[in-house]
């Protein structure tokens, strides 16, 4: 009989299915996001602040290869984690097959397009013709 007041619980190892791997990935990407997202927020929102951010600031930051790699990792982890989280939330409330498939493909397409746009900007850097931005 199941008890109403469990004093221990069992988490079986995730199955080697796609869902099982995604379950694990949510946890690993979440742990990676603690330093990645928190340091990003601490620097940009708290210490620098939106009033000191402009094209020159972005150009200066991206002149350092390390920050581009950092931003790329943040983009990859955070947006994939978040969009898969949104899929999980929606699938809690959408149980019929067809709408579910629609949601999955819709979210996958949106994730792919927005990630590609963000990655292109990180690789491309600050565009020319923006009023002589020092790139070094």
């Amino acid at each position: 009989m199941t008890t109403l007041n469990p004093t221990s619980r069992v988490v079986s190892p995730p199955p080697r299915s796609l869902d099982g791997r995604i379950w694990l990935l949510m946890r690993y990407s979440g742990i990676a996001l603690i330093p990645l997202a928190w340091i990003h927020v601490l620097i940009q929102d708290v210490l620098v602040g939106v009033h000191r951010i402009d094209l020159d600031y972005v150009a200066l930051r991206w002149a350092t290869l390390g920050w581009r790699v950092y931003d790329m990792a943040l983009l990859g982890f955070a947006f994939a984690h978040g969009m898969n989280g949104l899929r999980q939330v929606l699938e809690d409330y959408i149980t019929r097959d067809r709408p579910r498939r629609l949601v999955r493909w819709g979210l996958f397409a949106a994730w792919l397009v927005i990630t590609a746009i963000g990655a292109a900007a990180i690789v491309g850097g600050v565009g020319r013709g923006a009023g002589e931005v020092g790139g070094s």
């Binding site: 469990p6 619980r9 988490v11 929102d45 983009l75 989280g85 990630t115 746009i117």
Partner: protein, 137 residues
């Protein structure tokens, strides 16, 4: 009842205590952060695709209401991360979990969130007030 109404009334009536509170806060903070992140990827991308437009995006972010929202966004990111770590630790190391640890673990995440958020909220709040009422810059 429509599914959405069931979700909302059910969430209010279901007495799941601390665990349910953590679940709801985790869900809302995750979705809120995701909404902002999607916007933020697109607006930052203008620096490459349409550099002249980036100024407009910044003007939006510098609006007092947006700066106020930013302070709550930081709270969401801190709480979601702290509670996510709690979930991940209990799931990856099930031996850590005990029934009597459930309640204190939720209060710990709330306390950690407040302690980390207060200094950030102070600095950001000062900037909000300075730029809105004291004519900074």
């Amino acid at each position: 009842m429509s599914p959405l109404r069931t979700v909302i009334t059910g969430s209010v009536r279901y007495r799941g205590r601390e665990g349910q509170l953590a679940f709801i806060l985790h869900r809302l903070s995750g979705l809120g952060t995701l909404l902002f992140l999607a916007l933020h990827i697109l607006d930052t991308s203008t620096v490459y695709f349409f550099p002249a437009l980036y100024k407009e995006a910044l003007a939006l972010y510098r609006h007092p209401l947006f700066m106020l929202g930013e302070i709550f966004l930081v709270a969401a990111v801190i709480y979601h991360g702290t509670n996510g770590l709690r979930i991940a630790l209990f799931d990856l190391f099930p031996r850590l979990w005990r029934a009597e640890r459930e309640k204190p673990s939720v209060y710990t995440t709330l306390a950690v969130t407040v302690v980390l958020w207060l200094p950030a909220a102070f600095i950001m709040g000062r900037s909000l007030i300075g730029h809105t009422f004291l004519g900074w810059e």
